[in-house]
Subunit: 304 residues, 2 copies
């Protein structure tokens, strides 16, 4: 079955202590839709300006990503510029130009409205609401978010939580949203606000998945060299949502969510190996299976 | 087979934001030997003053911990006092009185010298060397350490590394010892200094185990309420060393080390539930098996 992905599409300028690259394909929907496309057809919703390079649209089209919901409007594409410090966990936003994103109102083509799995990738909660208003009986809705929205749009985010099945956020954001230092308590608080499932990403420490009385701790892939952490979270969310869409009709059990988290982690671990979506372009299904097996090797031990 | 445990034996005064308790049984060898005793007979090496309460010696004796190597000398027992902040990861040492520990020279009873597994729990590297000088062809030597020794006794610690099979330390200490921010690189550096196996503890994020080309990421048990983190690392090391001693004669493979790390984590997760060794006193083999199974549940996902 298909997965609907809404989020930002951007042209990024990214500086690390080693390299700097300008006008790279970026944005939460770009990473998430390409990651999801490894597992399922994607219905992409987003907006770009008329300066958006054709080859990026062609990349989407080449990967069973439907661009009927991609608005191309007069003006400039959303631009983001950021700089990473030597500790690549520390990022500074250098500039943000909303451009055509400022007046973005996601409009779902008729053909998208019944998409069973919905990924509300990282954008303003108001836009995530607006997309949800247009879908018809989705089976499973996943929302990603970030610290910015907890700071400036908390009421909209809180009301969104009541409408989604799963929330993805990082450890700092979980603490910020709930005021709890314990991630175990933070996850419980978030689940009380709505989503039955919560995934808390911990960067180099992996990811925690909470649902019902079940708990899953997914390790992180032991990467020595990270070239560009941009989009790791979006890729994780996209891989996860794509995998959930890959098994037609079957119920979304906690065991299936475990596998989805591992696939999301596998794709995110590849993504940070190169700038922008360069690595995702060349990853093969064989690469994904190989690293999934490595995740298994590194987290398994003999049963009692 | 037996495990030799050498380390400190202390009377601790511990303050958390909630409680304060004085003159508790503490010290690396106390935690480590009681943890190890769940799996194997222990040969304890340490020193206490003539003020050391008899019931603590009785606790050791009641748990197949041989105290022939426990020196009871005139004077006061080593005392340590520490305070934990609201974030229990942050600890401040309030006072240290070495007392009889100042002139401690570990002397191994003849009956200890051929103990096959040796755990050099956290004490000064010079004392760890001194113990190693007295053992005869140990099969597997594990050393634990702490930031203090990296600060004030780095040369002795470095020379110790060439004599041990496994080093246990936490993430901050691994970075401090090697100057590497990546734990993957730090582990490789440490392995180049001697120990074939390195375990890097990450507190609430679990533990990483490195050996040969193998890698294991052990999750942390999702504890909501930690009452006293003191001794968690010592308990981990003791449980691990005890488990390695529990399978007579069989080779110490990486798979066995994986299980040992899980058992160490299980015991450490129990230990922090109460002050001092109070929780370790009441843990049963059934409790250990139950939590081992929970570790498995929380880290497993379907194979490809």
């Amino acid at each position: 079955m298909s997965v609907l992905v809404v989020g930002s599409i951007a042209l990024d300028t990214i500086k690390t202590p080693i390299e700097e690259h300008a006008d790279l394909l970026g944005g939460s929907a770009s990473y998430a839709s390409v990651a999801a496309s490894f597992f399922a057809p994607v219905n992409l919703v987003g907006v770009v300006g008329d300066d958006f390079p054709k080859q990026h649209v062609e990349l989407f089209a080449s990967r069973r990503i439907d661009t009927a919901g991609l608005q191309i409007v007069p003006g400039k594409t959303f631009r983001w510029s950021g700089e990473y410090m030597w500790d690549l966990n520390i990022r500074e936003t250098r500039s943000v130009e909303l451009n055509v994103f400022e007046n973005f109102s996601p409009a779902l083509p008729e053909s998208y409205r019944s998409t069973p799995i919905v990924l509300l990738a990282n954008i303003a909660p108001a836009l995530q609401h607006h997309v949800l208003d247009q879908v018809v009986q989705p089976r499973f809705v996943i929302a990603d978010t970030m610290d910015l929205w907890i700071n400036i749009a908390k009421p909209e985010l809180i009301s969104l939580l009541a409408r989604v099945n799963m929330l993805i956020l990082n450890d700092g954001e979980a603490r910020q949203l709930t005021g709890e230092t314990s991630l175990i308590r933070a996850a419980r608080r978030i689940r009380e606000m709505g989503p039955d499932i919560v995934a808390i990403k911990k960067g180099e420490h992996g990811c925690l998945l909470f649902g019902g009385s079940a708990f899953f701790s997914c390790p992180a892939y032991p990467l020595e060299d990270i070239h560009d952490p941009t989009g790791a979270g979006d890729t994780f969310a996209g891989g996860l949502a794509g995998y959930l869409s890959s098994e037609d009709g079957s119920e979304i059990t906690f065991d299936r969510l475990r596998r989805a988290v591992v696939y999301g982690s596998v794709l995110a671990s590849y993504n940070v190996e190169q700038f922008s979506l360069e690595r995702l372009r060349t990853v093969t299904p064989g690469d994904i299976s190989e690293r999934y097996r490595l995740f298994q090797l590194m987290s398994s031990f003999e049963a009692l």
